[in-house]
Amino acid sequence: MSLLEIRGLSVRFGGLTAVSRLDLHVDEGSLVALIGPNGAGKTTAFNVITGLYAPSDGSVRFEGREIGGAAPHRISALGIARTFQNIRLFRSLSALDNVRAALQGSRRRGVSDVLRLGSWSASERAAEAEARGLLDELALGAFADARADSLPYGEQRRLEIARALATRPKLLLLDEPAAGMNPAEKQALRELVRRLGAKRGLTIVLIDHDVSFVMNLSDRVAVLDHGEKIADGAPEAVRRDPLVIEAYLGRDGEDEA
């Protein structure tokens, strides 16, 4: 069954068409990679799925429900979480608070926070324990009390994933999680993503502009170029697809500069 079903999605900004008639389905439990050169419309697609942009045309269905144009916080509540290409942490908060803020258990603002009666401190402690558990799972336990913006780059990327997981998503969207990482870090990240998918039964869509990174990782690869999907299928087949090679390397005889 398709967890996410995108049909005929177009996103236009004035005269610019960022995504054009995109069809994409993501099966439950699968790991799909969305690749393409810079400016291909990958992040725009993520932004529509998470409600930051409204689709100009077409539909986005999650578990059969239309979510195109819904408010981001409502889409999050349905079970879609994401990370951002240019890391967006709550910079001056501690790593622990970044994760706590995303926990459903923390969603009691108001009178009960002021009065602090009865089970308040128990649930507060449970939320903190859950947040610490997530930090440990992503090997961030040692950074729990450090300011988010003081963390090393790779740790900041993992903290974003921890924060996304804290919302208990069914679908996790990772926007270029490997950007700026060296080969060893990339390998570790690949292991992490694989583990998350397997252990938590998560469905994952991952953006990268590098085919090789997603090759041994994803079940399926979809390739975007200039807002259009030019290939969709098993990683090996996609890698050999002439249209994909052309998008990345250019046509024969074309000036490479």
Binding site: H73, R91, S112, S121
Partner: protein, 333 residues
């Protein structure tokens, strides 16, 4: 833990009674008035800190909500409270009736300000940054000028808290204990609201709205709630001011007052309750204590502000809290 909270509450109550009884005997009335104004400034500053420092929305019209609270509670006292107090005095001692009535008047002032706060917040919080600041400044001025034109509350003559039908009833509320009790409750409420799992939503909105939305925080709602709570407590501060001064005029709630409150939160450190309290206390006392310098006092006051901003642009405390605040929010972070 329960025992310790209880002990803390008893100690706080004892301190309040002590301030209430001792301060007027030791100090001359002038200093008592300054102390009372410090208490009121603390309430207003800490409530503004919730919006500006913790939720990251720059509001510079806070005095408008103080005006609503001041005039609404004063009108309640003059048009209904005086009669009620006189009536109650036939059943119970007047001092008891007064103790029961004044919290009511304060809450009424706060609620009136909160209602107006909603009407301002819902459209204004769609704006960001400079635009929001200008909208709140405008709202504050609109409120002030609207009140200035209501003849029932004195218009340009100002509004005196005395009922012509019941001249014997004293509607003024004196005593530092009450002012500081309300200030302490305000600090307690806002500190606990902010420093809790749920309160992280305010700080998340300040840090990054897009990221906050992406983890399920309804950012517009959080901003409106912050504004609502802040305007409620600003209204309470205004009500306290009205009932301790005994006479109010819209001039007390102009944009100069709003700016003063902004200075308190910025100088104290955006995102620090302790900082807002410290700044409100020192900067309320400073112009008075510098009075001996005559014409030079405002020059010195300005130099003090400039020196502060140059040496500590993040404010007195940055985002840190001093231990008394941590004590209030024990059990969370």
């Amino acid at each position: 833990m329960r025992v310790r909270s209880l002990a803390g509450a008893v100690a706080a109550l004892g301190a309040l009674v002590l301030i209430d009884q001792i301060a007027p005997r030791l100090l001359n009335p002038y200093f008592v008035t300054i102390l009372s104004r410090i208490g009121i400034a603390v309430i207003a500053a800490v409530s503004l800190q919730l919006v500006n420092g913790f939720t990251g929305q720059f509001s510079i019209g806070h005095a408008g909500f103080m005006a609503i609270g001041a005039y609404a509670s004063a009108a309640l006292s003059v048009f209904a409270g005086a009669e009620g107090l006189e009536l109650a005095a036939t059943f119970v001692p007047i001092s008891v009736a007064r103790v029961a009535y004044f919290p009511l008047a304060l809450v009424f002032g706060g609620l009136a300000a909160a209602v107006v706060g909603i009407f301002v917040a819902v459209p204004a919080l769609r704006l960001r940054g400079d635009y929001l600041a200008i909208a709140t400044l405008g709202a504050g001025e609109i409120i002030r000028i609207a009140i200035l034109n209501i003849d029932a509350v004195g218009g340009a003559r100002g509004f005196s808290l005395a009922s012509s039908a019941h001249p014997a009833v004293d509607l003024r509320f004196e005593g530092l204990g009450g002012v500081f009790a309300v200030a302490a409750l305000t600090v307690l409420a806002i500190a606990r609201l902010v420093y809790s799992g749920g309160g992280l939503a305010f700080r998340a909105v300040r840090e990054d709205e897009t990221a906050a939305e992406s983890i399920g925080i309804a950012t517009t709602r959080v901003k409106v709630e912050a504004f609502l709570v802040a305007s409620f407590f600003a209204g309470v501060a205004g009500a306290l001011f009205a009932h301790s001064e005994g006479y109010i005029h819209t001039n007390s709630f102009g944009f100069v007052r709003s700016f003063e409150l902004v200075v308190f939160v910025v100088l104290g450190g955006l995102g620090s309750i302790s900082g807002a309290i410290l700044a409100a206390a020192t900067l309320t006392a400073a112009p008075e204590l510098l009075r001996g310098l005559g014409d030079w006092r405002m020059v010195l006051y300005s130099l003090l502000l400039i020196a502060m901003m140059l040496s500590r642009p993040q404010g007195l405390l940055g985002q840190r809290e001093l231990w008394p605040i941590s004590l209030l929010t024990r059990g969370s972070r």
